[in-house]
């Protein structure tokens, strides 16, 4: 007998809904976008706050610069744009005008990872975490589900510091209950004693499924939801190194500089490193296919996470 299908959600819906709620409470909240009103799910925001939606057109460098100008004038801008173009095209603006200037801009990378499936690598945003983690002073937040997205949006509006918020379009099941997002803190969604899986974003629900599957094989997995990539929750990783024998990381991004690389840096420079596996995409452009197909292609299913963890448990 198969388990009932889990209901799954596009996090952009929760994102837009929370942004509207915040905008009603605080007139400093504005949205800045690059013709991305539809793809960022801002249609209702635009209806309710037409003056507070600043659509600069298809012009990402201008978009981030304008947001910095708004932030420096006391507004709280949420830049909403497809993640590949926001991070790739405006990278220097993100570095100089937002991070180095400590302008409190919330950069919302919509539809990240391989959410655009068949549209191909030009529209995929798998490099974003590597690019942005190299920039000082920029928080990087990757919510795992709608509840955490809402909570992270609310936190970001009040943070007063530069943040990148990666908002998933690929539908995910709820995994965080009503737990509030805490910046810089991982949450343990499933406790275990053999191997720790550190997952982020779309990979968190898959890691939880992997834990169930591994249990059937007698392997106990701890699943951490690492919804803040920078700064990394080093204490929770150190505890996992002490209490479990190995670590697997899972992210819908390149392994060159994102979550896996962050965790690996900590692990290899510690006194007692543990074996590790990094699941993600290793400097490769995706072939043609849907998001679900590509996640399978790159070994990012629950079964892949389970296999990697079980293998390490027996090392």
């Amino acid at each position: 007998m198969s388990a009932p299908a889990q209901e799954i959600f596009d996090c952009r819906v929760a994102f837009a809904d929370e942004l509207i709620t915040l905008a009603r409470e605080d007139e400093r909240i504005v949205a800045v976008c690059n013709d991305s009103v539809g793809s960022s799910n801002l249609v209702d925001f635009a209806k309710e706050f037409p003056d507070r939606l600043i659509n600069v057109g298809i012009a990402e460098q201008d978009m981030v610069g304008v947001a910095a100008g708004l932030a420096l004038s006391g507004y709280v801008p949420f830049v909403c744009a497809a993640a590949p173009f926001l991070t790739g095209r405006a990278l220097e603006q993100i570095k100089a005008d937002v991070a180095y200037s400590q302008s409190p801009v919330v950069l919302c990378g919509m539809s990240p990872g391989m959410a655009y499936g068949e549209l191909g690598p030009t529209h995929h945003s798998i490099e974003d975490l590597s690019w942005l983690r190299a920039i000082a002073g920029l928080g990087i937040v990757v919510p795992a589900d709608p509840n955490e997205t809402r909570s992270a949006v609310r936190w970001a509006a009040a943070a007063g510091t530069p943040v990148f918020l990666r908002v998933s379009r690929f539908k995910v099941p709820p995994v965080t209950g009503d737990t509030a997002f805490t910046f810089g803190a991982a949450t343990t969604l499933h406790d275990g004693s053999d191997v720790t899986v550190v997952a982020t974003g779309t990979m968190v629900s898959r890691a939880l499924q992997a834990a169930e599957q591994a249990a059937e094989q007698g392997v106990s997995l701890r699943v951490l939801n690492m919804s803040t990539i920078a700064p990394l929750d080093e204490e929770t990783i150190r505890t996992a190194m002490r209490e479990t024998r190995a670590i697997v990381t899972a992210e819908e991004a390149t392994t060159t500089g994102g979550l896996g690389a962050a965790v690996a840096s900590l692990v290899v420079t510690s006194h007692q490193p543990v074996p590790m596996r990094m699941l993600g995409i290793d400097r490769e452009f995706a072939p043609t296919g849907s998001t679900a197909f590509l996640l399978e292609h790159f070994g990012l299913t629950a079964a892949d996470i389970r296999a990697a963890a079980v293998e390490l448990a027996h090392v």
């Binding site: 600069v56 012009a59 460098q61 201008d62 981030v64 610069g65 304008v66 100008g69 004038s73 200037s101």
Partner: protein
């Protein structure tokens, strides 16, 4: 007094000197300029230097930020007017034209841009590199009011700043001569980014005092 957004990157020395003269920080601090751990970096940082409202350094960043400030002024129904100073060479950066389009489209009459039109960039003359002329017509085509004046004529500048604004953003093209008044520097591309020796400083000061 609100310092303007300065997008021109190689004017940090002049900006720091001005801010110290106004009293944003002690003049003695100017002596630390570009020294180890000095707040006065080669390119200004708003966190480290009182009075600096935006960072400067990479070219083509000032105008989009100024547009954001003008949009903010509009949203807040503020009477504040935003001034931004650009080098002419940096207008080769496409980000400026994205921002020029936004400002024109939104009819940001609370924004004034001053282009230091000295016609020199690091490697050669602007018109020999990637020509900018006709600059006034370019901005008009983007929905701005544009005017040209002698950038060394302070009264003409004052008139332009205080003239009533129309319904569009204003671009003031200030024609200048780099190194004006110093015979060996005037309009010479090598002085775009060169540090004078002590002797050259003395010679230049003597010429300017005449």
């Amino acid at each position: 007094m609100c310092p303007p957004v300065s997008s021109k990157k190689r004017t940090a020395g002049a900006l720091y000197t001005t801010l110290a003269a106004i009293g944003f920080f002690p003049k003695a601090e100017l002596d630390t300029f570009a020294g180890p751990l000095s707040p006065l970096n080669g390119h200004p940082n708003r966190i480290k230097v009182p009075g600096v409202e935006t960072n400067t350094g990479p070219l083509g960043h000032g105008l989009p930020i100024a547009v954001g400030m003008a949009v903010a002024g509009r949203l807040a129904a503020s009477s504040r007017h935003v001034y931004v100073v650009l080098g002419d060479g940096e207008l080769q950066e496409g980000s400026n034209w994205e921002a020029a389009m936004t400002a024109g489209h939104r009819r940001l009459a609370n924004l004034t841009e001053i282009v230091d039109r000295n016609r020199l960039q690091q490697g050669a003359r602007t018109e020999d590199t990637s020509a900018l002329d006709p600059l006034d017509d370019k901005f008009r085509a983007f929905g701005w009011d544009a005017l040209e004046l002698d950038g060394h004529d302070h009264l003409a500048m004052l008139d332009a700043f205080t003239a009533p604004r129309g319904e569009r953003p204003t671009c003031i093209i200030a024609n200048t001569i780099k190194g004006r008044g110093v015979s060996f520097m005037e309009d010479r591309v090598e002085w775009h980014h060169k540090v004078p020796s002590a002797l050259q400083i003395e010679a230049a000061a003597a010429e300017l005092a005449r």
